[in-house]
């Protein structure tokens, strides 16, 4: 029995060293060697070499000249330190009220039906993507605020639409931050709202 207790401690120690220390550090070393950018958050830099975000982490956009992302339950919205979903049930009155308010906020003069992802919060609260349908739905608003042709905006969305991976896995999607970066690149930054 006392022998087993001693073995227990020794096995704990050696597994702690191998799996808790050696293994994570080895993975870190190899990742840095092979996939440095990915291992460090897939960050996006601007012209002044400042980090403006990560291509994997969604950002809030409230200015109507930008594409809107999905609603977010992470903190006050897209809080990178507070990932979470709303956890509201389908039958929840709070969910219904929230969706109604969101529709009111974004619908404006658009008579097309709103794609569901634009009014539902993602699981992480940091979803960087919207569906292509949700991007097209927003195209008329962007064209109006940016004072460019609708065709131009539509072709930008087409260019940035990612198909399912290997045309098999997952869904077609558009990265909102990349989309808005391209808008700024082509048409300059929008006038800031008060």
């Amino acid at each position: 029995m006392s022998k087993d207790i001693l073995i227990s401690f020794k096995v704990s120690l050696i597994t702690l060293f191998i799996t808790g220390l050696l293994y994570p550090f080895l993975v870190t070393e190899f990742s840095a060697l092979l996939f440095y950018k990915r291992a460090n958050g897939s960050l996006i830099l601007n012209d002044q070499n400042k980090i403006i975000g990560s291509e994997l982490i969604g950002q809030s956009f409230k200015n109507p000249s930008y594409f809107f992302p999905r609603p977010s339950a992470a903190g006050k919205g897209y809080d990178g330190m507070a990932s979470q979903g709303s956890n509201l049930a389908q039958t929840s009155r709070a969910l219904l009220k929230r969706i109604e308010a969101k529709i009111e906020e974004i619908k404006k003069n658009n008579s097309e039906f709103i794609p569901i992802d634009l009014v539902t919060a993602s699981g992480s609260g940091l979803d960087p993507h919207i569906s292509p349908q949700a991007a097209y739905w927003q195209a008329p608003r962007i064209a109006m605020h940016r004072e460019v042709s609708l065709k131009r905006i539509v072709s930008i969305i087409e260019d940035l639409t990612e198909p399912p991976q290997f045309n098999l896995l997952g869904e077609a999607r558009v990265n909102v931050l990349k989309l808005n970066l391209v808008l700024d690149q082509f048409f300059g930054p929008p006038t800031m709202l008060p």
């Binding site: 958050g41 975000g53 994997l56 993507h129």
Partner: protein, 570 residues
């Protein structure tokens, strides 16, 4: 539902079938004839010598004693690491010590292979705690599951001789081989693949950025991939971040999602082959896999269908619901990638989440609950899943024996009153803990105050919590605020009982089987392969597993579904 969605699901199951035999064979060789791998046996000899392990065969009692002892030490060390993390290195965000009730809950949770998380990873735990504490115990808990399975299968395969009953193997040898030769190499490769897709792996502090609109955003960092790999391959399920596998830094692309789903069921599926090989009844192993695949496909079909449906409560709004129930789901995975993930997360004891199960449709959520309530024997946790499945097999052959009036046999060994008692206790243990915990919580103000959603869904939240804890799953209807002393302590208790009492019962069963003679099967033996057996086993699992909980399920997801169809909110 779309053709593309079903193609993804079908593709995964085909890959799984293809990998079962080669991986199962590798596992068999690692445990039963390790001399095939020269380098590995030299390496393990060094470790055995350092730890003073004599490799002697143990009785089931000694084996169980070492298993529980090792895990108790794990709980203590993990508790200490969390409560002293502010003195320890690798804490760039300067997080304070974890409060004692939360630390206790988390320690029990990770050691018992549950990985229930009442905390939010990115704002509670230092990198040191995540690595040295949680990643370490992810390996140990997964390894422990494998040992329990090995002891049981050896007991069933063993020919009685005069060696006595010292024949279930050596716990330390099995544990170290599982960690070093199964999980470690697989995780190393899997972690690097995840990083190639965008999963983080660094020790930087969180990064402050100014967004395109000029707002401030802080982006969490950390050694994520190394923990993510074992979280999935070891069917542990405890994420680095609060949002678990929904977080783009844990599960960045559809490919990473696909591989996570595959990795989750890979080892449990392969073990059916290993089991067939150990007990020299390959066709029985395949029959078990077929049973698992059938129930799993049934589950995913239901989830996928109901998650694709529009929410009737939103029908009157100016919305296009073609994409299905996307509340709590990520666009990149869509409905099929979220449905299959959720199904596997609850089939196995993994319980990771790439979407928020609390926001699933009532029937989708019901399937997740049932998957766990069946005892997580459909794939199940690494090792312990098959362990539980064997208990259901015992009940099946017992029932078959009753029907034809013969003493039931399993793998040539007679099943008698004592063994059936162990199997029944094993199966009856779970409802007792789950239903008592749930009813107590919904009758007490300190239990009710944690609910986020009201009405029948509130009951689902509590039921889900106790089910997940007792079955060592770890997924949640996360609207429930489980970080209160009541839930932290009672759920920790449920996790502890669900893990160690069940392993104890299973190993006691193994102990009583080990010295039985193996008889040659004759015309009266009920075959443990073929369609008749598979059908009976599926029936027993569904009836025994689901009927026990029928009343409470009527009051929660079923009633909620009625509300939904009537267009009533709560």
């Amino acid at each position: 539902m779309t053709l593309m969605g079903w193609l993804q699901i079908g593709f995964l199951f085909i890959l799984l079938f293809g990998l079962t035999k080669p991986l199962g064979l590798y596992l068999y060789n690692i445990y039963e004839s390790p001399s095939r791998f020269k380098i590995l046996s030299t390496l393990e000899e060094m470790i055995f010598r350092f730890c003073g392990i004599d490799k002697e065969q143990q009785t089931w009692k000694a084996y169980t004693f070492c298993l529980i002892l090792f895990n108790l030490i794990g709980i203590i060390v993990l508790f200490l690491i969390q409560t002293t993390q502010h003195f320890l290195p690798l804490n760039p965000q300067n997080y304070p010590a974890v409060p004692w009730d939360l630390a206790l809950n988390t320690a029990v949770s990770f050691v018992t292979h549950t990985n229930w998380q009442a905390y939010s990873g990115e704002t509670t735990l230092s990198y040191f705690t995540q690595m040295m504490g949680l990643t370490w115990q992810n390996f140990c808990a997964a390894g422990t599951g494998m040992t329990a399975f090995l002891a049981l299968s050896r007991a069933l395969a063993h020919h009685a001789t005069d060696e006595g009953d010292k024949t279930v193997g050596n716990f330390w040898v099995d544990l170290i081989r599982s960690i070093l030769f199964v999980f470690l190499p697989a995780c190393f490769i899997f972690a690097l693949i995840l990083v190639s897709q965008g999963t983080l792996q660094n020790f930087s502090p969180a990064i402050d950025v100014t967004t395109l609109e000029g707002a401030k955003q802080t982006i969490a960092m950390g050694p994520v991939a190394s923990q993510e790999a074992i979280k999935i391959l070891g069917t542990n399920g405890g994420g680095f971040f609060n949002a678990n596998s929904a977080h783009p830094f844990e599960n960045p692309t559809p490919l990473s999602n696909f591989l996570q789903m595959l990795a989750l069921v890979l080892i449990p599926a392969a073990l059916t082959y290993t089991y067939g090989k150990i007990t020299k009844s390959s066709s029985h192993g395949w029959a078990l896999l077929a049973t698992m695949v059938f129930i799993s496909l049934l589950g995913v079909a239901f989830i996928y269908y109901f998650e694709s449906q529009p929410n009737p409560l939103l029908n009157h709004l100016h919305l296009n619901q073609d994409l299905g129930n996307l509340e709590g789901k990520e666009v990149r995975f869509g409905i099929p990638g979220s449905s299959l993930f959720a199904n596997f997360a609850t089939d196995t004891s993994g319980g990771p989440a790439n979407s928020m199960y609390d926001s699933f449709s009532p029937i989708g959520g019901l399937v997740l609950l049932i998957n766990m309530l069946l005892g997580e024997v459909v794939f199940g946790g690494v090792g312990v899943g098959l362990f539980g499945m064997i208990m259901f097999v015992i009940i099946s052959v017992f029932i078959a024996g009753l029907m034809v009036g013969r003493t039931p046999e399993y793998l040539g060994k007679k099943i008698e009153g004592k063994e059936v008692r162990f199997a029944i206790l094993y199966v009856a243990l779970y409802p007792l803990v789950i239903l008592v915990g749930t009813s107590w919580s919904i009758l007490a103000p300190y239990g009710l105050s944690s609910l986020q959603n009201l009405g029948p869904h509130g009951l689902s939240e509590v039921l889900y919590a106790y089910t997940s804890a007792t079955q060592n799953n770890g997924s949640a209807f996360a609207g429930l605020n489980a970080n209160t002393p009541w839930y932290n302590i009672t759920l920790a208790l449920a996790m502890f009982i669900g893990r160690f009492l069940s392993i104890y019962l299973g190993l006691a069963f193994a102990g009583s089987m080990v010295n039985k003679k193996i008889a040659i099967p004759n015309a009266g033996t009920f075959p443990t392969q073929g369609m008749l057996f598979i059908g009976l086993l599926i029936g027993v699992i569904l009836i025994v597993g689901a009927l026990t909980y029928f009343p409470v399920l009527i009051l929660s997801p079923f009633l909620e579904n009625t509300y939904l169809q009537m267009g009533k909110t709560t």
